[in-house]
Amino acid sequence: YNFTDCDFKKIKESYRNIIYQELNNYTKGTKAIDFDHFVYCEDQPDCLSKIQSLTFEGRPGCAAPAREAFAVRTHAALAAACPGYRGPQINNTQTMRKIRKRQIKRKECLEQVTYLKELWQRLSRIS
C-alpha cells in the first residue's frame, strides 16, 4: 500500500492522543538504549510503511504484536486516514487474553515495539 495520500495530520492526532499512550503501556520500563539497533524513516509515507511493517509483521522471536491494543488502534488510525487502506485483517473477535498467554512479552517484542515508538516519534516531528 502506498501511504502517500494519507491524511497525516489526522494520523498524528491519533498517535499523540491515543496510540502514544498504548505504546508506552506496552513498553513500560523499557528504554530505547536497552537495544543497540537504530531505526530511521525518510519521510511520512516511508515512516507509515515501516510502522505498518513493524506493527503487523512478525519477526524472529516476536510473532506479531498485531492484536495488541496499540496495533489494533494503529490499524484503525490508518484505515480512518488512508484512502482504500485495508491492511492486514485483524481477527477482532479472538480474545486478547488467550493470545497474550502465548505471546508473553519477550525481549524481542519489546525491542520491536521500542523501534515502533521511535518511528512514530520521527513521524510526529516531520511537518
Binding site: S14, R16, N17, I18, R73, A76, A77, N92, T95
Partner: protein, 219 residues
C-alpha cells in the same frame, strides 16, 4: 411472552421518533469509559427498546447497553478511541434507527469540584481555585473551564471568565463591597482531538466581599 408491542402496535412503533443523544466520559472509573444515551423524546415508550454499539471497539464487534430508568449506559475499556462507531436502537433485534458516532467527539467532562475563594487583603483581590479529575487522566487532559460568578441579589447577571488553568484572580475593585457572591465552574474539552459538551456545573461557592472596595473608599 407479553411484549411491549402487540402486532398492530408494531406499525405504530415504526412511527415513534427514535432520535437519541449520547455523550461519553473517558476514564470515568479507572480505565473504564462510560457512554450514556437517551431518547430525545422523553415520552417515548422505551419498553423492549435496546441500544447497541458496533465498530471502533477492541476485541469485539458490538456491545449492548444497560438500561437504568430512561437512560442507556455502557461502561467498558473496549473503545478504540479512533474512528467511527455505529449506535443503533433495536426493538426485538430489529434496527429502528442507527447513527454514526465518534466516541472522542461527544465527550462530556466530569464536573469540576472543590471551588474555593480566598481573599488576599494585601493584594486587594480574591484567589479562586478549583479542582478537576481530568488532571489525572491519560486522554482528556486539556479542558476549557468557564468560571461564572454573580452577586446573589442579581439573579441573572452572571459574569463569566474562560481559562485553561484551575486558578483565577478577581480584583476587589471589580466587585461590589459588602456583598454576597456566588461562584461556580464547568468544563468542556479543549483539544482538537477530543471534542464534546459542557460538563455539569460544579457545586457553587458563596463568599462575602469586605466593606471597602479595595481602593480605600467605601461606596
Amino acid at each position: 411472552g407479553e411484549s411491549g408491542y402487540a402486532e398492530n402496535d408494531f406499525d405504530d412503533a415504526e412511527l415513534d421518533d427514535y432520535s437519541f443523544s449520547c455523550y461519553s466520559q473517558l476514564e470515568v472509573d479507572g480505565l473504564q469509559h462510560l457512554l450514556t444515551c437517551m431518547f430525545d423524546d422523553s415520552d417515548i415508550n422505551s419498553t423492549n427498546l435496546e441500544f447497541e454499539i458496533c465498530g471502533a471497539l477492541l476485541d469485539v464487534d458490538c456491545l449492548n447497553f444497560n438500561k437504568l430508568q430512561e437512560r442507556y449506559f455502557l461502561k467498558t475499556k473496549k473503545f478504540l478511541l479512533i474512528g467511527d462507531s455505529k449506535i443503533c436502537v433495536k426493538l426485538e433485534k430489529k434496527n429502528m434507527t442507527c447513527r454514526k458516532v465518534n466516541i472522542v467527539k461527544i465527550v462530556k467532562p466530569e464536573a469540576p469540584f472543590d471551588v474555593r475563594v480566598v481573599y488576599r487583603e494585601g493584594a486587594n483581590d480574591f484567589v479562586v481555585t478549583f479542582n478537576t479529575s481530568h488532571l489525572q487522566k491519560k486522554y482528556v487532559k486539556v479542558l476549557i473551564h468557564e468560571v461564572a460568578y454573580r452577586q446573589e441579589k442579581n439573579e441573572n447577571n452572571w459574569m463569566r471568565v474562560n481559562l485553561t488553568s484551575t486558578k483565577l484572580t478577581l480584583l476587589q475593585r471589580k466587585l461590589q463591597p459588602n456583598a454576597m457572591y456566588e461562584i461556580k465552574v464547568r468544563s468542556i474539552p479543549y483539544a482538537n482531538y477530543f471534542e464534546g459538551f459542557w460538563s455539569e456545573w460544579s457545586p457553587s461557592f458563596h463568599f462575602r466581599t469586605p466593606e471597602t472596595n479595595g481602593t480605600g473608599e467605601t461606596d
